[in-house]
Amino acid sequence: MSPKRIVLYFNADTSDKPMIYRLVKDYDLIINIVKANVNPQKEGTMVLEVEGEQSIQGLDYLRNLGVKIEDLNKEIVHNEEKCVMCGACTAICPTGALKLERPSMEVSFNGDECVVCELCIKVCPMKAMEVSL
């Protein structure tokens, strides 16, 4: 079975617990951290590849701690035709995947930083951020 790709969303209270340790030690899972943006007392995100017989139990353990989990089977696309480079998404994007380049003040999108939280899809006033399945 190939590893499952998931995104974890932490709230400010759960971001400082040693969860990955527990997933490995207690549930015998093989974990590959693809990207992580976790800071003490702040909201955070992590993209994981998870493999192992007890993966369902392991993910339930995370959910019980208040971690939101979603499958990563989509990607976000920046439609540059529609984007007017206003910047309204850039202080909303939790990972900095969408940011303003300085001094040009143009909006750039780095898919490698994106965790598909889809906030930009909702807040973009021009509907220039799109989900690709």
Partner: protein
Amino acid sequence: MGVEKTYAEINARIKSGQAVVVTADELITIVKEKGLSQATREVDVVTTGTFAPMCSSGAFLSLGHTTPRMKMQKVWLNGVPAYSGLAAVDAYIGATEVPEDDPLNGNYPGEFRYGGGHVIQDLVARKPIRMKALAYGTDCYPRREIDTTITIDSINEATLFNPRNAYQNYNCAVNLTDRIIYTYMGMLKPRLGNAHYSTSGQLSPLLKDPNFQTIGIGTRIFLGGGIGYIAWHGTQHFPSIQSVDGKDLGPAGGTLAVIGDLKQMSPRWLVGTSYLGYGATLSVGIGVPIPILNEEIARYAAATDEELFAPIVDYGDDYPSMKPGNLGFISYADLKSGEITVNGRKTKTAPLSSLPRAREIASTLKNWILECQFLINEPVQLLPSPTDGLKSNTLKG
């Protein structure tokens, strides 16, 4: 006595290809390098630009008569109601109007995916628009309904008339509450999670002529990608000069009413816009040329982001409850840096007004003038200035 130039002299220089036209960004550099007096002598026109959501926008459409004739009482364009309490086939499509079956904020936060602003963008993009109308029927206008398709070219007139655009300055919006709020200043995260602002700062038209010494009725402007005119002062035009402890923090409160032929505008510069949880609107591109008639006008036009300030306002509680005051002032230089400190806490800033598009407008307008496609109109009458003391009324009830 410094340099004094007239509109006629400046236009003569434009026509002879000798005019020096620069953007407001470029003027700042020239003043720094050569000094204000030399810059005033050299530069004839400074161009400005802004591209942002401007809700008080809309278009008058004269749809053409039907056979038999019809006095349209209710009109819908792509499902969006247009006001038709005008003559038989005239209507006004307002930027923030939404279809009657839109769930609005019933499904909070509402998406407002299509509204009057989108209709205007589709019209100017020359897309077909489904038009429906109802009427009660009269002896001279007997027809009672129609369901047809129009385009901007099939109707008689399409006139963009925006009663309030190009706000001189705007609040920097934050949220002090514990919940996410959805505003016309975008989504604001709780506890100062972000700060949104919405002008192009040192490139913004009305920040560059704080006392309305050149901007007035009849000023020819860049509007929606075409040529437009300032028709009047905008609604809620209450210009003032902000100050704290005697320090000048730049102007605020001025607005423009603008008009132009929609048929020569472009969907790149009139963009239908949706604010989550707030509503639909229209983003409008506007550029105003400022003739450098004397040193004082040049000095104001050369104001920098460090010298222009926005008030920081809490949209969680203070703004909706009409509480006066603010959380302090912040310069556009700080706002554009990406991070500011409010109430001792660092927060990320983001604009709702596109600076790359504002720059494009200022340089497009500059090129139009240099290519002699655009002359500078002397206003018929200047707009009210801060010294006129216009004050806002509030509604009782």
